[in-house]
Symmetry: C2
Subunit: 293 residues, 2 copies
Amino acid sequence: MTRTAPEILARASALTDAALDRALPREDDAPAEVHRAMRYSVFSGGKRLRPALAIAAVEALGHPAERALPSACAVELVHAFSLIHDDLPAMDDDDLRRGRPTNHKVFGEATAILAGDALCVVAFEVLVRDTPDRAVAADLALELARASGTRGMIGGQILDLAAERRAPDAETVDRIHRLKTAALIRAACELPALAVRAAADAAARLREYGELLGRAFQIADDVLDETSTPAEMGKGTQKDQSRGKMTYPAAVGLERSRAAAQEFAEAAVAVVRPIDRAGELATLARFTVERTR
Amino acid sequence: MTRTAPEILARASALTDAALDRALPREDDAPAEVHRAMRYSVFSGGKRLRPALAIAAVEALGHPAERALPSACAVELVHAFSLIHDDLPAMDDDDLRRGRPTNHKVFGEATAILAGDALCVVAFEVLVRDTPDRAVAADLALELARASGTRGMIGGQILDLAAERRAPDAETVDRIHRLKTAALIRAACELPALAVRAAADAAARLREYGELLGRAFQIADDVLDETSTPAEMGKGTQKDQSRGKMTYPAAVGLERSRAAAQEFAEAAVAVVRPIDRAGELATLARFTVERTR
């Protein structure tokens, strides 16, 4: 059975959404306001690319999808937390995300800040609680922290803000992309390998695949921001330029950006080729640069 | 050797500050801006009450202070993260903390939000990385998450905001205090017990001690906000009332608040009396309600 990228993503969404629904407090559990805000952003029609990568990684290693779910949920929760804080007025000041008002527009800034904080905490909680082998649980939590912190995602957000309105250069953009985006996507691919105690070579390949795919993904995202409409993207577009964001297209132009994204995606495919069941990883890598939203 | 509370706190500060300095990225490590912001708030002259409790707890169980340091650092980092976010304009909008401008006043809101996020993440990183027994490390991370999340500290912050300008009642105030303040202070006492795999009875006593002391501490804090000057406190005072915060004094008056704080502190002392070396825990409990800042 060969699945298409939309089929892979739909299956991963179904598995992950059920797991996230079990993991998160109910909307009517006190304090209800923050739980509503958390669920609003977690269940907002995201593509679930990171969970799909986690599941494809663990299946490529010959393990059932369920073994990837704690990692898939944890990474998606960190992703959701980062989007809420990114959209705040003091940060990117976005009103629209995935076709809906952003978290702070619905729940107010204070609740949005706390909902983001709580999603960060619950990511670690779910990961550690739902990983039966306690030593593995500790290793996963440590890797998630490294991928999310100032040497990973948060560090990339800081660099991204600091680079606004500065003359773009490809090296700086790549550094921002590696941290802001690739660190967490890499974790989505690597954590499941750690969870099943994969051989070192396979784990290293999945890590490298995630890094390359993460870079491809963010370049494609920069291109989409410049070339698509808000209706297609479900969020404001052409915003990078008006904000003076340092993007890949700003540094090297649209055509070279598209080519670079393709190259990174193909390099990602190549690095996991020695893994037996890597077909869906290849499909997802190519989808990343061919998607239209 | 019987130490006074200031001596216990000074010793705990020295041990913890050295451990935190090792744990946090250098100020000149890239991205330097966020690392400076993190260190600004972590090293800002806090009392280090939570680390002192963690150390006193582990020493009461007959183990060296060093065994408490991962827990002490992690809890203090979560505390620092929560203060940065609490002080933001969208939250309590405070300009002054411990006699210095608040984080966002110095570094701007975006960096302050991200510095808080990063301190939350690094709390888990330090706790897991520096706890040699991997299974114990996982248990500690899970407990820290529970104490910090929506059933703990963050939940209390949400309730605290929701209760503003509502008619105060002692039951609601107590519920806020238990979550907002006592959950993390309880974790400071309980995590070290888990770290040394203490007997269940001792761990339960330390947990209960932390819960009672946390409630005593927050009532004393409410009283101090109403009765002291900004010069004494190093932050704005009489702010609870102007904001319509639901405090213990607002619910039951100053005299009954002072008495309640005393009672909780004495109950905390009583619950750890069966533990051999609980002298410093008793000293800290009484300090909590007798302090003037």
